[in-house]
Amino acid sequence: MPLSVSTCQKIDKAIAKYPAGRKQSAVMAALTMAQEERGWLSPETLREVAEYLEMPPVAVYEVASFYSMYHLKPVGRYVLTLCTNLPCALQGADAAGRYLKETLKIGWGETTQDGVFTLLQGECMGACQEAPVLLANHQRMCCKMTPPQIDALLVQLRTEAAQKERHE
């Protein structure tokens, strides 16, 4: 299945940012868009991106496997990444991590049985003043995540997930 028209349009926009003949520079953007469309980057998706950018598939794989926010295995609909680095740890991230694991009944790197959430431990997101900091699907930064905030976010995302499922 080829990448969607809207994903290709976004990739074209990224390619236009770089000098002629430097399409490869758009690979990070292209992988991001492809992951946004498909949830994760399968070997097929990597090949499609490689073809689109006229790159050797191994060069695309090198990039996808190097940067921590690309997923080379299936993940839940929402990937929740909690920063547990030192500044956040000093400001309640450990407690937020325990609460997330207990509430979702999964450990780091695991996905809930219903496939809605994957929980990851992250490194510095550059927002330590608002710890604990959590990223939802790598794009939405959620700050000061105490248990009530975490509960509210989980409810909201579950509702969104159910709506999307009905839509599909």
Binding site: R22, V63, Y67, N85, L90, Q91, G126, A127, M141
Partner: protein, 430 residues
């Protein structure tokens, strides 16, 4: 109208910001783009602008503190293709100032980059933005579009002969891309692994062309220097350290946040602005310049001023201005364990001493913290850290080793206690 955000009374970079007034029209209302207009309308020569930057004693705000004017002067004059790049890959634990600059005042950074491009003769630039702050990347995309629509970017800017194009590029989760040559590799669409220096980017940079990479805050200082003069900026700080500096203070304080201070302000003043140590507890230790800088005992830090030379004299580095505060209840073994795990995670794997050494450090720290430390582990930590330092292509090896050596040096008894008693010393007392 929203209230002004409080970054302290000395703020010039972050003055007048509400969180909502980030758009081009707001920036222009604050006097924005007047520096660029002045240069182009009065036909001020690149060398004259460079002279003011040198006079200002502006030093790189990303961590290394290299004099900005000198860095710009390394760029060859007549190369046909040159690049200016903003390093907004802010991922040093404890640092969160560039995020605020870019989300609250993106046009100051854009104007600074345009002026830098004018001085160095670059026709194209990129802003490399930390992947984790996606919303800020999207805002920067909007801001660049605004600047282009207003004629501040593009060909023949404001009717002059000067043309410059600027684009945003996002990272996607790799601390190492904050290192300038890894960042260049990343823009080229490769793994972010550092390059050997020399050749330096000023000679062989992006796509092999002369390139200058500066930090977000460094660029944001440039329009202020052009408008007010290098001497004005120098006078805000200290000799050899001109201007204000944004300090990101986090950890055990009442009000973590960004505070903009004149360079040379005492640390005690910053701590006071942040509301003091949380819960009125005692200060134990401070990491003054981001997680890579050596830790300093609280008592020494309380006597230290915040400028490059003073913090160096206290045995550490001003770095990026990321101040991590730890109170008396904190176990230094646990703190170092967390940092060691981070560096192991983020080593790009290119150089053996860093790839393997950070793993050893992390594993030794893990076992000490979890009551499985062995006699000789402290010496091993010091030896491994020493074997990494100076033996890697980029500074990430030193960044991983320096915290280890300083934690062991200043808090050795806590490490010894952990190994001997298989538990934490701090918990006994507090």
């Amino acid at each position: 109208m929203s209230a002004y955000l409080d970054f302290g009374p000395d703020a010039v970079l972050l003055a007048g910001l509400t969180g909502d007034n980030w758009r081009l029209k707001d920036y222009v209302a604050r006097g924005g783009y007047s520096a660029l207009k002045k240069i182009l309308n009065e036909r001020i020569l690149p060398e004259q602008v460079l002279g003011e930057i040198k006079l200002s004693s502006l030093r790189g705000r990303g961590g290394a503190g290299f004099p900005t004017g000198l860095k710009w002067s390394f760029m060859p004059r007549n190369a046909p293709e040159k690049y200016v790049i903003c390093n907004a890959d802010e991922g040093e634990p404890g640092t969160f100032k560039d995020r605020d600059l870019l989300r609250f005042n993106p046009h100051a950074v854009i104007e600074g980059m345009i002026i830098a491009a004018y001085v160095m003769g670059c026709a194209r630039g990129y802003n490399y933005i930390h992947g984790e702050i996606w919303e800020v990347y999207e805002r920067c995309e909007e801001a660049v579009d605004e600047a282009r629509a207003a004629g501040f970017l593009g060909s023949r800017i404001l009717g002059s002969d000067f043309s410059f194009e600027l684009f945003n590029h996002h990272g996607f989760g790799a601390y190492i891309c904050g290192e300038e040559t890894a960042l260049l590799e990343s823009i080229e669409g490769k793994k972010g692994q550092s390059r050997y220096k020399p050749p330096f980017p000023a000679n062989v940079g992006l796509y092999g062309k002369p390139t200058t990479v500066n930090n977000v805050e460094t660029f944001a200082c440039v329009p202020l220097i052009v408008n007010n003069g290098g001497q004005w900026f120098l006078d805000l700080g200290r000799p050899n350290a001109g201007g204000t500096k944004i300090f990101s203070i986090s950890g055990d304080v009442e009000r973590p946040g960004n505070y903009e201070l004149r360079l040379g302000t005492p640390f005690a003043k910053l701590l006071e602005m942040a509301g003091g140590v949380r819960g009125g507890r005692k200060l134990k230790a401070v990491i003054p310049g981001g997680s890579s800088s050596p830790v300093v005992p609280g008592a020494i830090m309380m006597e230290t001023d915040l400028d490059y030379d003073s913090v160096a004299k206290a045995g550490s580095m001003l770095g990026s201005g990321a101040v991590i505060v730890m109170d008396e209840t904190r176990c230094m073994v646990r703190c170092l364990e967390r940092l060691s795990e981070f560096y192991h995670d983020e080593s790009c794997g290119q150089c053996t001493p860093c790839r393997e050494g950070t793993g050893w450090l992390s594993r030794i720290m893990h076992r000490i913290e979890h009551g499985e430390g062995r006699p000789g582990d402290i010496e091993a930590l010091d030896r491994v850290a020493g074997d990494i330092m100076g033996r890697t292509i980029c500074a990430m090896g030193d960044a991983a080793a320096m915290p280890v050596r300083s934690f062991v040096k200043h808090f050795r008894s806590e490490f010894e206690y952990h190994i001997e008693h298989r538990r934490c010393q701090v918990a006994d007392h507090v």
